[in-house]
Amino acid sequence: MIHARGLTREFKVKKETVTAVHGIDLDVEAGRLVAFLGPNGAGKSTTLRMLTTLLPPTSGTATVAGHDVGQNPAGVRARIGYVGQKNSAGENFLVRDELITQGRCYGLSTRDAAARADELLDLLDLVPLARRKPGTLSGGQRRRLDIALGLIHRPDLLFLDEPSTGLDPKSRADIWQHILRLRETFGTTLFLTTHYLEEADNMAERVVIIDGGKIIADGTAERLKNDLAGDHITITTSTEQEAATAARIGNGTATGTTVRLQVPNAAAALPDYLRTLDGSGIRVTTAETARPTLDDVFLALTGRSLTDDDIPA
């Protein structure tokens, strides 16, 4: 569905060339749900804008939904849907009118566009809002409208840029329910960016991590976590001295009376570790294991935490 080779985009900022995306290779098979993860400024949106023909690449090629983004942008546009970061509906227009316009933009007759608009209003629980202006909708309702606008022509591939950012937890869950249902019902290929780690972790079959304009990891969340981060064991001791010794034994790090170590399989390693510490006369007061998060993966790869979110310019 997506095949990108050496995709690069440079911007001129005050006569200096800044490379936002640096030679990305990417292949996405049909029917997948792929999460594109990275901190702000990593090149997520720029990549998405190139794949959706909004921005011509400086170099490299991309074939999206069977057409080259540079050679045949109209062919790509006809086959993909795009839900941008901002609000898709114009403020001056009524919800249903915007859906009809969107259908006509894809070449539907006014009547077909109206029928499709009504279908989508129903599918996304927007029927009571059909004659309202977007400005009067709640954040979650607006997002559902954005998704409806992206679906009007039944695309096989839908791009979503931060679909759940800025929504309250209930609306986020609601949006996700709609996205997942879409996939189940229509087999739509979904390519979305997010900086909510747990979303990428729980929902996506494949996670692509981008940083500094380069793809630094690509795989299932499970595999990335096992290969790149490993489990964690956290114990506390009664004194700092004991913690320091325990850290040395386990090859971990001590902060105060807390010791943290990274191991391939925490559940299996913990009993052994506790026995060793016991043998050395160290009294462990608490012990717990934790599976790694995608943030641990990012930390292991870059030395920074994704949740800090601000990368130095």
């Binding site: 023909t53 609000n87 898709s88 509906a89 009118d97 933009c105 894809y106």
Partner: protein, 247 residues
């Protein structure tokens, strides 16, 4: 071509629907031109021959400048929001996006032109239908070009928008004042007339006056039409290029 027409119609009807929903706005937009028309028209009566004959085309040119500027502003709002981006991802023809939007402004301009002519008729405005029709066609061509240029400005100004206000505000009035829309340039000092000659709006104003007076053989019509076509060609070229380069 057929998709171009279809897409132009799509954008036009999108833009026009809110006006249809609230047509009162049309009257408010006409407030300033009407004020200019009646204040200046009364002041200048006698000074430039029949002031209405002289002033009505000038006011139409003035509206033809402000309307497309307003269109650029609505585009800027849509660029800052996400709705323009959403439309850019559809297969919609790019030129149709520009033309459809300005066509809406032009239809409004035509409606306002008809109203102004009707108001001026009892005051002594002499109607030359063929000239007026040709004049309006010329204004539409000019307006499409101006609208596209205003869109280019909006695209260059996004996402901040400050540039748009600075440029549009600092260009609009000099263009108007140095074109002889409000006061005749005939009696102006040489340097001011020289500026007038460099201003494409001057040629359009002259052509409009000739057309509205029924002087269909006047060479100024040719110059005015050339100026309108040049502005339209430049506007559409730059507009298309700006959209291809990404917004």
């Amino acid at each position: 071509m057929t998709t171009f027409l279809r897409d132009t119609a799509t954008i036009f009807s999108r833009e026009f629907r809110p006006t249809l929903r609230e047509p009162v706005g049309l009257l408010f937009e006409m407030g300033q031109p009407l004020l200019f028309l009646f204040l200046f028209g009364s002041l200048l009566d006698g000074a430039v021959g029949s002031s209405w004959q002289w002033f009505v085309p000038g006011i139409l040119v003035m509206m033809c400048l402000t309307g497309p500027m307003a269109a650029g502003y609505t585009l800027l709002v849509e660029l800052i929001g996400g709705s323009m981006e959403r439309l850019m991802v559809t297969p919609l023809n790019r030129t149709a996006m520009l033309v459809g939007r300005t066509m809406k402004e032009m239809i409004i301009l035509l409606a306002q032109a008809v109203l102004i002519i009707l108001l001026a008729l009892p005051l002594g405005f002499d109607l030359h239908p063929a000239g007026v029709l040709a004049g309006l066609v010329q204004l539409v061509i000019f307006g499409v070009g101006l609208g596209s240029l205003s869109f280019v400005l909006a695209i260059k100004s996004a996402p901040g928008g400050t540039l748009f206000y600075i440029v549009s505000q600092s260009i609009l009035f000099p263009l108007l004042l140095c074109s002889g829309v409000l006061l005749p340039l005939d009696t102006a000092p040489a340097w001011l007339r020289a500026i007038g000659y460099a201003n494409p709006v001057t040629y359009i104003v002259d052509a409009q006056r000739a057309l509205f007076a029924g002087h269909l053989a006047s060479p100024s019509i040719l110059y005015g039409t050339a100026a309108a076509c040049a502005v339209a060609a430049a506007g559409l070229y730059l507009g298309n290029r700006a959209m291809r380069r990404g917004v």
